[in-house]
């Protein structure tokens, strides 16, 4: 009896798997999105999804692509690489999507990219910054900076513009993004002639950074470079100020979120970040995105949402230009993307399928980003 109940459940579950996704409508274009919608990094996945959703709704209101509406399938991977791979496998083979948007984290993009490459389905990562991601094959694209570029930008800015020579690095040893950015920053900064006086680590989801900050303080750095995500940076900034560390804090595009100011408050004053765009940027693309995102979701967009929005729009642009929606045609059209005016800047894709766009340096003043300068690649 027990055996039958077990067997029955199993067969039922399996039948689920085999029967789903058999319907394919011809009047819509189906794209796939995979990300971590649950688990420790859910907030990143959900933000990105919101950005993509907005882009899809806008294109559908505008009449779709060559008359066809766009629809999206979203799969969660709970932050696990093996599930990321499985969900891409499902998107391609069961749902027959024409293109894939995702993942935020480089680790999961690296796990899933070979699948997309194998089936020749274009995949655009909104914010995987590790250089390895697009090396997985010629169907893999990205619309964000790569770590070496951003690390170099911040190192040069700190050394040349701010004239600070002694750096301390506080990095997230769990996050690939943070480790990569910290490494490239260190490399450029020491090449320029600066010194790294301390290099400390934390792990994402930590809340107490006082031990690291206290020992950083004794090394008397001119500034602290914190290549992390806004989820931790707010608390780091607060605790640094509590301990009497008044030096500037520098960071990357991972900081970009309204939550940063909410959690960090005044402690963030006198900090600099490199980012894709400035919210005060008068360019119509930026302003339109910010207002419509706010109208749709009730919150200010963060960096991940805008990257997702741009990734989707670049894909739509390519779909309009491509002769057909075949993987190879779409890929060719994507590879030719040039001077695309997106919310995160003017994007061109180079021969490595990486985005070439200028970075802006922003200063945080009284709970707002202030534009400082633009650095061209």
């Amino acid at each position: 009896m027990k055996f039958f109940s077990a067997f029955f459940t199993f067969v039922l579950a399996f039948a689920f798997l085999l029967t789903q996704g058999c319907t394919k409508k011809n009047d819509t274009i189906l794209i796939g999105n995979y990300g971590s919608m649950t688990g420790a990094e859910a907030t990143f996945g959900l933000s990105t999804k919101d950005g993509i959703t907005l882009a899809i709704e806008e294109i559908n209101v505008a009449g779709g692509i060559n008359g066809k509406k766009v629809d999206m399938k979203v799969y969660d991977n709970g932050g696990k690489p093996e599930e990321a791979r499985l969900s891409v496998e499902k998107l391609i083979n069961v749902d027959n999507v024409v293109a894939i948007l995702g993942e935020v984290a480089s680790t999961r993009s690296l796990a899933a990219a070979p699948v997309a490459q194998q089936y020749k389905v274009p995949m655009i990562s909104p914010s995987s910054t590790n250089p390895e991601v697009t090396k997985k094959g010629d169907y893999i694209f990205r619309v964000c900076f790569i770590d070496p570029f951003q690390g170099m930008v911040m190192a040069k800015f700190a050394f040349n513009s701010l004239n600070l020579k002694k750096a301390a690095v506080l990095r997230d040893s769990k996050s690939d993004y943070s480790m990569g950015l910290a490494d490239y920053f260190t490399k450029t900064f020491t090449e320029l002639g600066g010194t790294i006086v301390a290099d400390e680590k934390y792990q994402s989801a930590d809340v107490d950074f006082k031990a690291q900050l206290t020992s950083l303080k004794t090394k008397a750095p001119d500034f602290i470079f914190i290549p992390g995500y806004y989820t931790e940076v707010g608390l780091i900034a607060r605790q640094a100020r509590d301990l009497g560390l008044t030096v500037p804090l520098l960071g990357g595009d991972g900081w970009d979120s309204p939550k940063l100011f909410e959690i960090g408050g005044d402690a963030l004053t006198n900090s600099y970040i490199s980012n894709h765009f400035a919210a005060e940027d008068p360019r119509p693309e930026v302003q339109k995105f910010v207002t419509s995102f706010k109208a749709r979701f009730g919150v200010e967009p963060d960096g991940l949402a805008s990257a997702g929005y741009d990734a989707a729009n670049i894909l739509f642009e390519a779909m309009k230009k491509a002769k057909s929606l075949e993987g190879s045609e779409l890929r060719t059209a994507l590879a030719q993307t040039k001077d695309f005016k997106g919310a995160t800047g003017v994007i061109s894709l180079d021969e490595n399928r990486d985005a070439v766009k200028s970075a802006v340096i922003l200063k945080i003043e009284s709970g707002k980003f202030k534009y400082v300068e633009t650095v061209n690649p």
């Binding site: 688990g39 934390y202 031990a211 303080k217 608390l235 509590d242």
Partner: protein, 300 residues
Amino acid sequence: MEEFIQHTINGLSLGSIYALVALGYTMVFGVLQLINFAHGDIFMVGSFFGLYAMRFFAPHFQPGPVLAILVMGCAMTASAVLGVLIEHLGYKPMRRAPRINILITAIGISLFLEYGGQLVFGASPQFFPPFFEKTQFHIFDSVTIDSNQISIFLIACLLMTALQFLVFKTQFGRSMRALSHSLDTANLIGINVNQVIRITFMLGSTLAGAAGVLYALAYPKVEPLMGVLPGLKAFVAAVLGGIGNITGAVIGALILGLSETYVAGYISSTYRDALAFIILIIVLLVRPSGLLGKKRIEKV
């Protein structure tokens, strides 16, 4: 020297946070011999309810003691209700089940609260506004300590004393202790076992709720998975002190907080998260019943 004092202050304040969570853990374990994995998540729900109470009351009250009591009260009530609910629906049907089954149930409930939290509260971290203006004190030149750190430390000590009193000096405490020796015997001598367990759970969850709000005061960021790490660390602290032992939990938590801070500050921050487990392993291998725990003799 100043660095050392600063590290010690940081370590003690971190330890007292762990202690707040560990107290509830150890109390439930002491009575039921049950590792309540959901404790960390009740703690999370507590701080979220604190946040909502804060948003509700903040327009009407100035930051100060009244607001503090209101917020704490809401958080503690909500988590007490949740605790009793979990006990009634999850653990009560399993009273005679093997330990491992109860543990799996606990893990299941914990996962349920975490993923449910991500759905209900949203996955992104939220800011917890302070209901008490904190003041910074400077000792020497560069050593700082703030009022939050001091009050959390004092509250942890106070709660420890109160619980100690409850367990060893009151009638209810006596039934709790009887229960921890043997469920059947306690039943036979006329103790309402279910009620004692329910109240123990309620107390433990209330503590978790209070800890959640105080935690959010010290680290003003609340998110649905915030309970996982403190839960694990607090468990380690409780085991370190001898699980089931109230003073032991606080001492274990302080030792854990201090050693984490010293190691991260002086040796390397790389293995900071592994440290809690390394300590746990060493303590259990050298002294399996913890620092203050009593040795249990197994009989055939």
